[in-house]
């Protein structure tokens, strides 16, 4: 049937043209556009948003992003973190946030995932102080910060997760650890400790 509609010579010509197009596209796309090591301009993904909550609304909040304001509306599938993953978050004015989601045509932003007051630091432990209910310690990395950890924190040793034992922490002064924490009333409460 095809042979009757498209002459053989025209068919071969079209096929050769397609192959040439694919070859040129592959050359441009892989070897030129995406060359590793080549200097390139910065990319700012539109899905990313970070700022501070300045006003609460029925569907989310208004945020300050640098010098501008942005309306953020929770979607049905929004996942939110503030120490734990929660559906209904006690968000407060002044909370900082980091989100990955979708800017909408009406100007609002709907986060797929949003983190409030999250902190991450890795470095060497110092000033370790233990107690029956909580331990405090400083981490010296890009900056120095003091953390509080209680039994709600998880310890990840690479061999699995376990609850943090304040009286018997799995590290000593000088150890290299990473801490993910939530900032609550200017206290950094550890949620996950990687040792």
């Amino acid at each position: 049937m095809l042979r009757q509609v498209i002459p053989r010579r025209a068919f071969l010509k079209a096929a050769l043209g397609l192959c040439a197009f694919i070859g040129v596209f592959k050359y441009l796309a892989v070897d030129r556009l995406f060359k590793v090591g080549a200097a390139s301009d910065s990319v700012y993904p539109p899905e990313f948003l970070a700022g501070q909550v300045i006003e609460l609304t029925p569907s989310g909040f208004v945020a300050r992003i640098g010098q501008r304001e942005q309306t953020v509306a929770y979607g049905a599938a929004t996942r939110a973190w503030k120490k734990d993953w929660q559906r209904l978050l006690p968000v407060q004015i002044g909370d900082s946030f980091v989100a990955w989601g979708e800017p909408q045509e009406d100007g609002t932003y709907v986060p797929a995932t949003i983190y409030f007051n999250i902190v991450n630091l890795y470095g060497n432990v110092s000033e370790l102080s233990v107690g029956p209910d909580q331990a405090t310690f400083a981490v010296n990395g890009r900056r120095k910060a003091t953390f509080v950890a209680d039994a709600s924190a998880l310890v990840d040793s690479g061999q699995g997760e376990a609850a943090f034992e304040p009286a018997n922490p799995p590290f000593e002064n000088g150890a290299f650890i990473q801490v993910v924490a939530v900032r609550t009333n200017n206290v950094l409460v550890a949620t996950r400790i990687l040792v």
Binding site: V36, G158, V179
Partner: protein, 125 residues
């Protein structure tokens, strides 16, 4: 082309005009890398085995979990700390010393979970 296996963490200390290259930005797909030609080299074993790069160079970071999301990121800072060697992770949950530190935007772009803190990656440099 060199492929390195290790972990990636995230950081949010960039303000658009700081970092080793004086232009790192939390909202951009930027990375802190341990072996910059500008003289920033951390850790004698791991970092020296990674390719030397300059500010603005592009590397590819592939999340080895979460379905293997990859992203090109550009180097705008120097990775500050490595505790020991850069042994490759053996599973999605292994926590080896990080090879590269990503901005929040870059970490989320490869499907990382900020609350987990670290993700195993393959870095092509």
């Amino acid at each position: 082309m060199t492929i390195k296996l290790g972990s990636s963490t995230w950081y949010n200390d960039c303000n658009g005009s700081n970092g080793a290259c004086k232009d790192c930005d939390n909202a951009a797909l930027h990375a802190a890398y341990p072996h910059l030609g500008t003289g920033c080299i951390y850790d004698s074993n791991c970092s020296l085995s990674m390719c030397a790069h300059s500010c603005g160079d592009r590397i590819h970071v592939l999340n080895q979990c979460s379905g293997g999301v990859g992203q090109y990121v550009t180097i705008h800072d120097c990775f500050p700390l490595q505790s020991d060697g850069c042994n490759p992770p053996v599973s999605c949950f292994d926590q080896n010393p990080p090879l590269v530190d990503l901005t929040e935007a870059a970490f989320l772009a490869i499907g990382g979970d900020l609350a987990q803190g670290r993700v195993p990656v393959q870095v092509v440099c």
